[in-house]
């Protein structure tokens, strides 16, 4: 770790404006060879815009970019890529229905007489991936592998194509702890090879674990760019938020589970191959936290409760009746709401306005003919924009222009507008900045106090512990433990997740 690594990519005075909104107000940043550079900021701080500019996806309205001392301007991402800047986005954008080796070498396969030499391609793919410690069948379709493997393939492809700067946009968002460790190993290897690595994340632990340098953006301005050893957690959070944030105070939720009357009982609810039959009681005024690793069946259980998938065993006992929810429509009629894990794919209507996104579930419940007119829509949307502090220039802005945290609030508002009695939140704080994170956690507690029944799925144990009245732990598509009262601690949850299987689960740093 030398202090004066050579600068590879430097951007100066970058300005970008969307309409009247200044996304970047003259930001300077430089990335150095052999350094992991963490880029931090709340949602809407301008991280994505900055990345899109240095990778050629956006053209800046002002400022200069220098690559190895030479001024450059990228018209397209391909151009940036060919000059050495590779990017791996949060949503892996490879071709899931093609083979691993196709994905690595598409467009530049070795050919003989114009015909792709498959054997040579596969051989090269195997060799490339072995450098990443990955020994997989490169002729299998990419989609047959886990997101973690796909991510490594994406990184390998980006490094092969570019090789000077590697930009990782929230690479750990959908990985579990083991996979994160593996990814970090790979990043360290690449760093040793002299790549400049840019790392965007929301996890402060990971910043301290991996980075050499940190740059913080807030509201489109550069707040600071520091070597990591010059910082501690508090100073970093202060830079990000511009205020001191109360950090991780464990207040175990005790005794609040009492008095909640049963809303419904889940009885032997299951779907062959997805979720083993589950029993669970849901009470009013209670948050049931659901913990478990990715693929443990957490989301699948939620989908069964909400009728996205139809259970083939058991059902719900609600309102004195036994029933199986066969569609989201039925779930909504029962007064259920569901904020799905993948906001972009299953949650927001990107091109529709914030107003329409908020009223849509309520309107769906009202039916086709009791249409809310524009004024009524405005009033409802306005109320929720205010109550949930949704930051948008106007209720008529397309929701896709909002930051992730605000989009999540819009989806929450959509369900709250239907006056639900049961809400399922699947990873409600994933990919959301620290500030919005705290707000959503507060909101969950407030809804519980208002008497709602909630099921909240989350990978963040501190978070689950802070708001859950009960915690159920899932492993291998089945419910393995139910923790109450004083048992709700991160270490107990980790123990349950690890279970008899004895998997070495890394202690979660708090």
């Amino acid at each position: 770790m030398t202090t004066d690594n050579e600068v590879v990519l430097e951007a100066r005075g970058i300005i970008k404006t969307f309409g009247n909104h200044a996304a970047l107000k003259g930001v300077d940043i430089s990335f150095r060879r052999g350094e992991v550079h963490a880029l931090l900021g709340e949602n809407g701080a301008g991280k994505s815009t900055l990345i899109k500019i240095v990778t050629g996806a956006y053209i800046p309205d002002g400022g200069t970019i220098h690559l190895e001392g030479q001024p450059v301007s990228f018209a397209t991402p391909q151009q940036a890529q060919s000059l050495g800047i590779g990017t791996v986005y949060q949503e892996v954008n490879l071709l899931p229905n093609m083979t691993v080796s196709d994905n690595l070498f598409i467009g530049r396969q070795p050919t003989s007489a114009g015909i792709v030499n498959r054997k040579a391609t596969d051989e090269m793919a195997r060799e490339v991936l072995s450098r990443y410690g990955l020994d997989i069948d490169v002729r299998a379709e990419l989609s047959t592998y886990s997101v973690a493997v796909q991510q490594i393939v994406a990184i390998a492809r980006a490094v092969e194509l570019s090789g000077k700067v590697l930009i990782l946009d929230e690479p750990t968002a959908s990985l579990d702890r083991h996979e994160v460790d593996k990814l970090f190993q790979i990043i360290r290897t690449l760093k040793a090879r002299g790549l400049a690595i840019v790392f965007i994340t929301h996890f402060l632990d990971q910043v301290f674990e991996l980075s050499d340098r940190v740059t913080v953006l807030r509201n489109g301005s550069l707040i600071g760019s520091e070597r990591i050893d010059a910082l501690n957690r508090t100073s970093l959070v202060r830079m990000m938020l511009g205020k001191d944030l109360v950090q991780h105070h464990h207040t175990p939720v005790e005794g609040q589970a009492e008095g909640g009357e049963t809303l419904m009982t889940v009885r032997q609810l299951g779907l062959t191959g997805k979720v083993q039959p589950i029993d669970l009681e849901i009470r009013k005024g209670e948050v049931v936290g659901v913990a478990g690793l990715l693929g443990s069946g957490r989301t699948e259980m939620a989908r069964l409760m909400f009728g996205i998938d139809i259970a083939d065993s058991g059902g719900l006992h609600i309102d004195g009746r036994e029933r199986v929810v066969r569609s989201a429509r039925e779930a909504v009629d029962l007064g259920f709401g569901f904020c799905p894990e993948d906001r972009k794919a299953d949650g927001i209507f990107g091109d529709l306005s914030v107003r329409e996104n908020i009223v849509i579930a309520m309107q769906a419940r009202l039916g086709w003919f009791k249409a809310l007119n524009r004024d009524e829509q405005m009033e409802i949307a306005g109320n929720f924009i205010e109550a949930l502090d949704i930051r948008t220039a106007s209720a008529d802005l397309p929701v896709k222009l909002l930051s992730g945290g605000n989009q999540q609030k819009v989806i929450l508002a959509r369900w709250l507008a239907t006056d639900p009695r049961f809400l399922i939140l699947d990873e409600p704080t994933r990919g959301i900045d620290v500030g919005a994170h705290a707000e959503i956690v507060r909101m969950i507690s407030r809804l519980r106090e208002d008497g709602l029944a909630l099921v909240v799925i989350s990978s963040e144990l501190d978070e689950i512990v802070s708001y859950s009245s009960r915690v159920v732990v899932m492993r291998d598509r089945t419910l393995v433990a139910e923790l109450e009262g004083a048992d709700i601690t991160p270490s107990k949850i980790v123990q349950s997740i690890a279970g008899q299987a004895g998997e070495p689960v890394a202690e979660v740093t708090a």
């Binding site: 209507f349 329409e356 769906a364 249409a371």
Partner: protein, 333 residues
């Protein structure tokens, strides 16, 4: 807060229509002449809205289908089927009401068929409606028994050639249908549901929208519109021609919708703008006809104008223009 785009300055479709009309006037000075004769209006302009009506009616039904990322390729064939049903019914001496109801019911059935394939079997709309596009003409030929069925029922003929308040009947029907469809879309929640489904079908399902029912309904409505257009086309020539009625009109209808600004990728839509698209297409056709140019030019000119309109609608062009425009204003300050 919105990005400045051309469509904020003026609807490109209106500019295009004005441009075409002026061009028509230049090649044919009498283009704007409208005369009153025998209780009805005559002139090239009237001809445009009269001849454009069938495509406009198809476009009315097609708009919301396209807004859900669908398409209905069968409307031309459904026109032929409905025309055949109407003609045989008229020949059999049925009153107009029975003839109309029969044709519309057949259109509804065709639409429900398409809609079921798309909504419930999950077949891609392009393929699902291709089935009826091919089979429909066969059905129409079976109904007409291979010949052109001509009729002389004055009530049915009035639907295609009559006039109300001096305006040609087909145009009046298209206008009323446009207003009714627009009001149904915007005064009920259906328009919002359609846009939600077209924007993100998965999210629509998670929200508890009855997406399948909405999609089924849209194809059913599209079938009815096609049947109505088919009756008008048959009434206009006083006969049902299973081979040629509505031939290729599905393409004009799709074009009208796209010119009207509804994206083939689904989402926002406007029925009146689609009708404007149909009028633009017909204005071009009529213009070439009255100008004395060989009709072969029609297709080439049409293609050029369409490219022009699509370029004007393109987001990318709007971005470039607004960037230029934005820079000029900042420099000016």
């Amino acid at each position: 807060m919105r990005r400045l785009s051309l469509s904020d300055i003026a609807k490109p479709q209106l500019l295009a229509l004005a441009f075409i009309l002026v061009l028509n006037w230049m090649v044919f000075p009498g283009f704007f002449n409208v005369t009153w004769q025998d209780g009805r209006l005559f002139g090239s302009l009237i001809d445009v809205i009269n001849r454009g009506a069938p495509v406009a009616i198809l476009a009315i039904g097609m708009t919301a289908i396209i807004a859900t990322r669908g398409v209905d390729l069968s409307v031309g064939a459904v026109m032929a089927v409905a025309g055949a049903v109407a003609a045989t019914s008229a020949v059999a001496g049925q009153p107009l009401i029975v003839t109309l109801a029969g044709a519309l019911l057949v259109g509804l059935a065709c639409g429900l068929w398409n809609g079921s394939l798309v909504a419930f079997l999950g077949i891609q709309p392009f393929v699902a409606t291709l089935v009826l596009m091919v089979a429909g003409r066969g059905v129409a030929q079976l109904i007409t028994e291979g010949s052109i069925v001509t009729f002389s029922d004055p009530a049915l003929i009035f639907v295609g050639t009559g006039s109300v308040l001096g305006l040609p009947m087909p145009a009046v029907i298209a206008l009323i249908l446009m207003i009714a469809a627009h009001l149904v879309m915007r005064r009920t929640a259906i328009g919002l549901f359609v846009e939600a489904i077209g924007t993100n079908l998965s999210a629509a399902n998670y929200t508890g929208l009855r997406a399948r029912t909405v999609i089924l309904g849209l194809y059913a409505f599209g079938g009815c519109c096609a049947a109505l257009a088919g009756v008008i086309a048959a009434a206009d020539i006083r006969g049902a021609d299973a081979n040629n009625a509505g031939l290729w009109l599905e393409l004009d209808a799709i074009l009208a919708v796209v010119i009207g600004g509804t994206s083939l990728l689904g989402g926002r839509f406007s029925i009146p703008m689609s009708v404007l698209g149909a009028v633009i297409i017909q204005a071009m056709n009529t213009g070439i006809l009255v100008s004395g140019l060989p009709p072969e030019f029609n297709l080439i000119v049409k293609a050029s104008v369409i490219i022009l309109i699509l370029v004007m609608q393109s987001d990318r062009v709007a971005e470039v223009v607004s960037r230029r425009f934005g820079r000029m204003t900042t420099r000016g300050k």
